[in-house]
Symmetry: C2
Subunit: 155 residues, 2 copies
DNA sequence: TTGAATGGTTCAAAAATTGAAGTATATTCA
DNA sequence: TGAATATACTTCAATTTTTGAACCATTCAA
C-alpha cells in the first residue's frame, strides 16, 4: 500500500520528489502549529522565530517573501500583544527596527523549542540525517536570499 | 553582510535551520508559481501535480493536509475548466476518483517541467546535492503520510 | 435491517493577502 | 541649495482562501 506510494514517487524527477517532500513538511508543520498552545497566528509565529535579532520590516518582508503591508499587519498585532516594539533605525529614520520584548523573547524561545520538536517528529529523521538535511536546507536558503526571481519568469 | 546571516543561522539548532530552509524554499516556490503563465490557482497547480494517477478526493485531502471542503472547491474549479473529470470509485461508490483529461495531462506535464526548473534555480543545488536532498525529502514525506499528529500536541 | 461510520458537498463566516494611494525620510544632481 | 525622485513603511478596502458545521449518499457492523 505504502509501497505503492514509494514506487510512484520513484518515477518522478528528483526535483519533484524534493518539492513534494518540502510541501508535505511545510503543510505538516503549519498544521502542527495549530496545536501549539498560544493565541498567535501562523504569520505571527513565523515573524517571532525570525526575530532572533532586531530586524527592519523591509528585511523581514524580503525574507518572508511577502508584501510590506502584510508585515505591517503582523507587526501591529505583535506590538499590540506586547511581544515587540518598534524603534526607528538610527541608520535610516524612514525604517523601523522590530525588537522583541522580554515577553517576545520568551514566546520565541518556546516556539523555537516546539518547532524543533515538531521537525523531529514530523520528519522522522535521525540526527545524522537531520544534520545533512539542515546543511542542504541552509545552502538553499542562502541561495534564495541571494537571488531574486529567476530570469525569464518575471511577470 | 551575508556572512552575518550565515553565522547567525549557524547558531541555531539543525532542526530550526532545516525548518527555515524549508520555509524559504516553500515561499520562494509559491512566489514563483505566480510567474507561470497560466490561470490556475496555487491549490489547483498542487492538485494537478499530485494527480499523476487517478486519486480519491479523500486521499488528496490527507496528502495535502487540508479539509475535504477545500478539495471539493479545487476539484470543482479544475472540472469546470476541463482539466479533470469525477468518476465514482467502483471499490466504494461513496468516493469519487479524480481523473485528468488530456488537457489536464498536458497542463500537468507543463507544471512538472516548470516546477523542476524552479526548484533547480531556487535551490542552487547541483544534481548530486539535489539527489541527496530528494532522498531525504522522500523519507520525510513517507513519514508524514504514515504518522498522524505528533502525540502530546493534539488539540 | 437498522444504526453508526465514512466519503464527499454546501455555504456562510472568518482569516489572510493583495494592491493602490498616502506619509515621511533619504538621496541625487542641476 | 533645493527640486525631483526613490525608499521605507502605513492605510484600508477589495479579493482570495480557508474554515467548519450541517448535510446527503453509500457502506459497514451487529
Amino acid at each position: 500500500m505504502s509501497d505503492d506510494i514509494s514506487t510512484r514517487l520513484g518515477r518522478l524527477s528528483p526535483e519533484i520528489q524534493a518539492m513534494m517532500g518540502v510541501y508535505a513538511l511545510y503543510w505538516k508543520l503549519e498544521e502542527s502549529f495549530d496545536c501549539i498552545e498560544t493565541d498567535l497566528s501562523h504569520q505571527e509565529c513565523h515573524m517571532l522565530i525570525k526575530l532572533d535579532v532586531p530586524k527592519r520590516m523591509g528585511v523581514l518582508a524580503a525574507d518572508m517573501l511577502t508584501l510590506p503591508s502584510t508585515i505591517t499587519a503582523t507587526a501591529d498585532a505583535l506590538e499590540q500583544s506586547g511581544h515587540l516594539t518598534r524603534q526607528r533605525d538610527p541608520e535610516d529614520r524612514r525604517a523601523w527596527l522590530l525588537i522583541l520584548t522580554e515577553q517576545g523573547e520568551e514566546a520565541r524561545n518556546m516556539l523555537v523549542a516546539v518547532a524543533g520538536e515538531l521537525f523531529r517528529s514530523a520528519s522522522g529523521l535521525n540526527s545524522e540525517e537531520t544534520a545533512e538535511f539542515a546543511r542542504l536546507a541552509c545552502k538553499i536558503r542562502e541561495n534564495i536570499l541571494k537571488t531574486g526571481i529567476p530570469e525569464g519568469l518575471k511577470k
